[in-house]
């Protein structure tokens, strides 16, 4: 508990805040460990229930603590809570895997439960929720902007990687050169690349004023998009190259000997057989995009990263979390969705 949103607060132990109920989530976690031993399909439900219960209980306790306090006072979640959340989450994922369930389902269940608690107002007194209510529109706008920036960077990287992938596939010399160039980009620290692009772009804009008229700016989303796309190009390009080469050489040879033209071999043999490999690269790139776009907040590209940096500048931990948590969730969601696509493609090809 803290007197306002910036000052560090005093710690209140779980038993003091929650009473005897404080031990229930821990008990559930212990029960989950036991149930895991028994290999029950219900085992992952126990740590999930623990998470939901802990959230609800802390929410209620925060509401009680806030009674009679000035409006600037905040009740935040302590380190112990986050530790509990992380270990219970890991346990749930592990047990879902052991029980033969998709780990993504466990994550989805936890997310839905969290959303339900939020809807019922159980979490309203927590400082994170207070912070969110104060900046609701900004957070939502940042979320959409973050998604749009990530998608745009991914699209830009794809537009570059596709022709380069084909070129590298056709010629070993081109492959070596492109590989070296794209790997070099990876070596440049991302902040340095962002910084480097700003003067480069302003030079370009100075030379070609028509670009400025078209809405391009040296600071803001343009350099961020270009830098992020430059990083994504390598995993995409690698995956494309790997996918094109994934087909059994005997099948390609047979296709050629049957009288398929090169274009048909690519469309009918190489691409369908390489899709799972390519989907893998797309997944890596999408997750990277969501993470890297956050850095764009530093150069005025907006998005959730801007919230994180604003929070850092103000030493407001809740604001940082408000930016960081959605970034983590987005990355996890993108990973799970594209992983599903990947396995489906791999199964279909066999």
């Amino acid at each position: 508990m803290a007197p306002n949103r910036l000052l560090p607060g005093e710690a209140i132990g779980a038993p003091a805040a929650l009473g005897p109920a404080a031990h229930l989530p821990a008990l559930l976690l212990g029960g989950a460990l036991l149930a895991g031993r028994l290999r029950s399909r219900l085992a992952p439900a126990l740590p999930l229930a623990g998470i939901v219960l802990a959230l609800a209980a802390t929410g209620l306790a925060a509401a009680r603590l806030m009674e009679g306090q000035p409006p600037a006072a905040r009740a935040s979640l302590g380190a112990g809570f986050w530790l509990f959340l992380a270990s219970a989450g890991l346990l749930a994922l592990e047990q879902a895997r052991a029980a033969g369930l998709r780990p993504a389902w466990a994550g989805l269940a936890a997310l839905l439960a969290g959303v339900a608690l939020w809807r019922w107002g159980l979490l309203d007194a927590l400082s994170l929720a207070v912070e969110y209510r104060a900046r609701q529109e900004a957070v939502q706008a940042a979320l959409w902007r973050h998604l749009a920036l990530s998608a745009a960077a991914l699209g830009l990287a794809l537009a570059v990687a596709l022709p380069l992938g084909w070129w590298g596939f056709r010629s070993a010399r081109a492959e070596a050169a492109i590989g070296a160039a794209l790997s070099f980009v990876q070596v440049v620290p991302s902040l340095a690349l962002f910084g480097l692009l700003i003067p480069l772009l302003s030079l370009l804009l100075g030379a070609v004023p028509a670009l400025r008229a078209a809405g391009l700016q040296a600071i803001g989303p343009a350099p961020a998009l270009i830098a992020v796309a430059a990083y994504l190009a390598l995993p995409l390009w690698r995956a494309l190259l790997g996918g094109l080469g994934a087909a059994d050489p005997a099948a390609v040879e047979a296709a050629r000997a049957m009288g398929m033209t090169e274009r048909r071999i690519t469309a009918e043999i190489r691409l369908p057989l390489g899709l799972p490999v390519f989907a893998g690269g797309l997944r890596v790139a999408a997750v990277q995009a969501i993470g890297l776009v956050a850095l764009g907040g530093l150069i005025g590209a907006g998005g959730l990263g801007a919230l994180v940096f604003e929070g850092m500048a103000q030493f407001a931990a809740d604001l940082i979390l408000l930016g960081a948590l959605p970034i983590i969730l987005l990355a996890l969601l993108a990973d799970a969705a594209l992983r599903g696509l990947e396995t489906r493609l791999a199964e279909g090809g066999r």
Binding site: A254, A257, G259
Partner: protein, 309 residues
């Protein structure tokens, strides 16, 4: 049907073939043998332009292949290889239908042709909708052969088509190929490193060594003593005499009358089988019988020893 005129092939400074001149007649089952690296696969792949000669001319049906569109040329020639190369994401039926589809046949005709080919190669019709991963090695080879035959090409190229299957299935597939050759009269060019297979299948045997053609002709003529030491080592495996007897039917050596009580053998059996039966029954003479069981005379140990082509 297929002619090579002074053909040489160089791969990155290495000579794969040198000055090969060879003519393969319509309806021949021409088998290319030679040690590995002798250029037999290269010679085969010249026919459908998978390999381009650095010198010389390759003619198919009288036309220089260099002047033909490679894709159209390849669609007119069946091709089956050891690794089979079935498309793993396509069903058995779709695999077989590859060339007819490329040729733009109507759907109904393709379906009928696939059915016909699966029957010809004794493939269970239930396999049509399965993916290649569900096939056994022998079945995959049959599907590969069916795919090669799909558009009814008059020329069939086969590169160790039975290499990856066990000996029993191999024998079955070989018999199948001979049956198809007999029934359809296609011109077949087949590469093998198995001398027994080469002698058994070939109507025209071509021997290659280090990129040069060293001998060609009918198997019987090539194994007629005296045999060049290289051929002897390549084709004989230490039993050239027996392999030669394999090529000769008993009927060609039957004469005179068998001694009473002599064991009998069919006229269509090979002299090698006759010799084996003599050793087995310890008799120097066998009674030769026609398909209907009528006596045709006797085959003796002496007659086998004196047999010439």
């Amino acid at each position: 049907m297929i002619a090579f005129e002074g053909v040489s092939v160089v791969f990155g400074g290495v000579r794969a073939l040198e000055g090969v001149t060879l003519s393969v007649g319509r309806g021949a089952l021409c088998v290319l043998v030679g040690p590995s690296g002798s250029g037999k696969s290269t010679l085969l792949r010249l026919v459908n332009r998978l390999v381009t000669p650095s010198a010389g001319v390759v003619r198919v049906r009288g036309e220089d292949v260099a002047a033909l569109d490679p894709a159209r040329l390849r669609r007119s020639i069946g091709y089956a290889i050891q690794s089979v190369g079935l498309f793993p994401h396509r069903t058995v039926a779709q695999n077989i239908a590859t060339v007819p589809r490329l040729l733009g046949w109507p759907r109904a005709r393709i379906a009928a042709r696939v059915e016909e080919l699966m029957a010809l190669l004794r493939l269970d019709p239930a396999l049509a909708g399965r993916l290649p991963a569900a096939l056994s090695g022998g079945q995959a080879q049959r599907v590969g052969l069916a795919r090669a035959l799909a558009a009814d090409p008059d020329i069939l190229l086969m590169d160790e088509p039975f290499g990856a299957v066990d000996p029993i299935i191999r024998r079955g597939l070989r018999a199948e190929l001979q049956r198809i050759h007999r029934e359809t009269g296609k011109t077949i060019l087949l590469v093998t490193h198995d001398p027994g297979e080469a002698l058994e299948l070939a109507t025209h045997l071509v021997v290659l060594r280090e990129g040069r053609l060293v001998a060609e002709g009918a198997p019987l003529a090539l194994t007629e003593p005296p045999v060049h030491p290289f051929l002897r080592a390549l084709l004989g495996d230490g039993e050239l005499g027996l392999r030669r007897l394999d090529l000769l039917p008993v009927g060609t050596a039957a004469a005179g009358a068998p001694p009473p009580g002599a064991p009998s053998i069919a006229a269509s059996a090979s002299l090698r089988a006759a010799l084996s039966l003599m050793v087995e029954t310890r008799s120097a003479a066998l009674a030769v019988l026609s398909e209907e069981g009528a006596p045709l005379g006797a085959v003796t140990l002496q007659a086998i020893l004196e047999r010439r082509a």
